[in-house]
Symmetry: D2
Subunit: 348 residues, 4 copies
């Protein structure tokens, strides 16, 4: 049998980037079995390139792990929560001792009954940081348990992190790289390239991405198909693609403004890195190098740069699909065109 | 540049299956960059094999797509909702006309203001059915718009489906194949193979998977890392791996019973198929054949069979991780063992 | 000490109702300590009265209770789920035996591991039906346990109902009376009475009620303050006001259309009745009588009629607050005006 | 017509309180139409009184309001977010100028596209603080808009607060008074007073409150009927009872321990005050005085004390209902006993 799953990969675009994080034209690497995604992102990339470029801004970067300890009752749990918060400086040192790059950014306690959940946030440099943060969390946990004999071990990971499960916590308290990409598309380009209007996209975004998602019982989510682009970008750059789960929980906004269609994607939780076993796969290295994400920079800068391109891919694919869905029949027409060319199924 | 992302793949196990859907021993194909997952699933598979086998039961199978139409006001939207429900038989024929396999199972309307969302459920045979259901939905939508000139096109996809976004709707109303896998593990095996106890696993499951997830603002989710196994199984069998998003929303239950640890995984939303472009990739065909999922069976039976193996992989990996997390220090110890053997990072 | 909490009560309006459920002008009874709500609803009522009237349409009415039984494993739980569904007719008779009015409408099973949750839906006439449905559920549960000795009692109420807790299930599967009230307000009235524009209200609704709620991790909710009007209406008409919890999970839509501001409220889960101990309190009887909700009608018609007035109150208060929040400084100005007149705090 | 809704009110108990916040025996005031709640809370109170007393600990206290401003694009929104955070000290002064008691505790920005949501947290002394925080938020908003002409007014309240709507944000970031009440009930008392066992209550809590709620698509919620006790306590003490919505989102934990049943309620979001128009109603003053909540204390201490009694009422009613639901038939039996005594319907 084969010892590799082989996922079709292409570089699509180029997309035009207009700062402040990245400027210039870049092809976006995507690996997916849903090959119509390639042309979808390509159409979006054309829009960025021909209209002054997409802008992206990083809001935050951190990796989290939550640990659980058990006290004898709630009063003790609350006391421990306060005490641990007061020892932040010492715990910062404990974390520093676990890795060259890892830094403790925050400890957030939650007391429920006699249980104390501690959500720890770390800076993890250019690594996605699953591992680095587990290692650091373990050191913090051991330290706490040693100094507070009244507490018992609960779990090294307590789902308040939260990794690869949908939740509200990551968006509200931060996990991974969080950023926004936006751009205003002239009305003319909406018509000529996207075959739609700013008004139609804005209306669809409100009814589908905001209201439709709310009706579905979605949680902190308002987009059409971020997960498709995330999967493809994650696979192409050696990321842990199971993190599309939390990555999928982002927001699209669309507005008809005087100068055109303002269109943005907000991605609260991109879990990406440029170092580690995944990104070191040859095909991933290749793609990272093309994006300029393997250069000498201060720790974390390559990962943030990578997140910007990921956001660009999401922006391009999201715009293209929404535009298509404003036009009756267009989604299936695009699909049939693809199929005739032997290209599988369209994104959703 | 390379034109494929190459994901390490192995067949792990074998797992012992004890009916009613599947019996015998089968190796589970997994493709992932998170290679410690291989040994994690392997340990779980050993537990199934040595203790009478895992049982799995399929609860439901359907694919969904929601469309949106706009009426002039809520009274008209409500009337249309009632009228369309009354035309189910005719719409069933419309759907039948779109594909040899596709069948209309349900139409669920939701009226919000003057908007009418229609969630359509289809049987799609052995295909995951993204495409087949979009095509059928388009036919239904066209039919409705033709017969009801008071209604306007809103969207061919309205996020109430819901595809690749976390939500409550899929679990409550069904989407994909939904199934449960369970087994009682003798106390002795808990100790010797899993290095834990039934009580410890049950306690951790309640505190981490149920309470921890609730604290995180999770939605219809209660598990440790379903997404890891789903991603690996989806990649190995040519599925659309972005569907790990909704797949990740399942439940683990664990109980200390007299005879041992009762351990189950409930997966409400597996989007898998055995036909189509993805499952036709050579490596995927290979894996499907080994699992007996490319044989002549009534439509849908191969896909359901595949879902059973997917659930088995999830069960094995979930059990192994939870067991590890009951033991202070074990998660990182396992990780370091892996690392020494050059195997990357552990699952979360 | 006093043996009554005394909540200030007024009839506000009248609101103009334009069918199809109710026509004419009616004062809306409200009891609340948040007395600025009176003028807020009054302003909305004026809008309905002067512009052709509010329309309201009932979509559904049912009361639910979920019970829990425990099987030995998932296979047995799944078999029981199927078997119980097949016995619907007999269980319908069982329910009929518990009350003159109660009728079984639906049984929805959910299997998780070896647990079987059954969500039962009932018609309960003009009663809100908490009690009637518990009684009927108990009869169904007893019948099931007697006929299936392999099953054990789990709980008479299993939170999948779900009563007085926020959830997605009530909106998706129905609980209580669900309805929509809508109306298009001429642009001129937006300006003269509401001091705003259709565009401003629509924009605010999207950003606050849809996007803001999503950011907050809201679940199936998109409104500004339904709970305020629900509480006041429930208290004035003798309802169980703890049901504001699920009542609060509704949606406001607002659109600038050519003819004016289209404004709607969708209330998926009003738990109201016109009979029972609460509605029989003298002040409640009085209010119900004024609304024409104690007349001879087919069972359920008075309760549905009452729900329409409740929706009207919600519509009026929601419109008024949103309009105020489009204008910088207006919310606090209104508050200060109230305060000078000794009237407490404004709604939120 | 009457100008008051009159809600039956009683003082129930007394409950035994064992510190650290409150010690001694106190009757708990409750006003509700669901009169079986009185005996339910009474049974729980007996358990506290006879077994050493309930303990309660306050974790946090704050009131929040979110405002919305609009920038020209995401880059400007992100810059404004950073700039405003850097001006915390000045904004603290702005807040101080709005009221004798109000203090700014935190500003949390969220950027989505070009929108900037600012969640402001305040200390509001003994007032619930709806008003005080709106006034302070308005001052902050005005200050920001004056100093940053690039920003436009969006809304004085943007649903990220979030008031009277279910969400995840209040539990994760804090809103209102958050506290835990817990106690271990000897096995003997479980049997003699509650007619159940520690094991049965723990099992039911896991299956109903945790798993059942998750299945229902609940959000940050795991309890049986907090809303019932909250409504009754809020009405009796002059609170804004529409805040039961967020109050209902709390957690019950139950464990069989060697010494008995450990039972806790965690209430993340009690919106209560001892001053203001509501608490100044004569019946409310009376009740507050009995609880010792109108004495001279440092600002905020009376409100926190009141929250402790509220938590006690919740603990008592929650325990009693869960115990009843462990016993087949008990819920309806209790109900029928009530009914014979003319007392309405039982809690759910």
């Amino acid at each position: 049998m084969s010892d590799e799953a082989r996922i079709p990969m292409r570089r699509v675009g180029p997309a035009g980037m207009a700062g402040p994080e990245v400027e210039g034209e870049y092809e976006l690497p995507l690996a997916t079995l849903e090959t119509p995604l390639f042309s979808s992102v390509k159409r979006g990339a054309r829009v960025t390139r021909e209209n002054g470029g997409l802008r992206a801004v990083v809001l935050d970067a951190r990796m989290t792990r939550s640990v659980l300890v058990e006290a004898d009752d709630a009063v003790e749990a609350a006391e421990a929560a306060r005490g641990i918060a007061a020892e932040f400086d010492r715990l910062e040192d404990v974390v520093r001792g676990t890795s060259r790059y890892c830094r403790l950014l925050e400890i957030r306690p939650q007391v429920v009954g006699r249980l104390l959940y501690l959500r720890l946030a770390f800076f993890t440099g250019d690594a996605a940081g699953h591992n680095m943060s587990t290692q650091a969390a373990e050191a913090v946990l051991n330290d706490i348990l040693e100094r507070r004999p009244g507490l018992c071990y609960g779990s090294i990971s307590a789902n308040l992190c939260t990794d690869k499960k949908p939740s509200a916590v990551n968006g509200l308290l931060g996990r991974g790289i969080s950023l926004v990409a936006d751009m205003t598309i002239p009305h003319e380009a909406c018509e000529s390239v996207l075959k739609t209007s700013a008004e139609a996209v804005a209306r669809l975004n409100e009814r589908k991405n905001l209201l439709g998602t709310a009706l579905a019982g979605g949680v902190r989510s308002g987009n059409a198909h971020f997960a498709n682009m995330l999967l493809a970008f994650y696979l192409a750059t050696g990321q842990d693609a199971a993190n599309v789960v939390e990555g999928s929980q982002g927001f699209t906004t669309a507005e008809a403004r005087e100068e055109g269609l303002y269109f943005s994607v907000t991605l609260p939780s991109l879990i990406v890195g440029t170092v580690g076993p995944g990104p070191s796969q040859p095909y991933a290295q290749d793609n990272l190098a093309t994006l300029g994400c393997r250069e000498e920079r201060e720790p974390g800068a390559n990962a943030r740069r990578l997140a910007v391109f990921c956001a660009a891919a999401v922006w391009c694919g999201e715009l293209s699909l929404l535009a298509a869905q404003t036009v009756p029949g267009e989604l299936m027409r695009a699909h049939r065109r693809m199929e005739r060319r032997g290209r599988g199924k369209p994104e959703t």
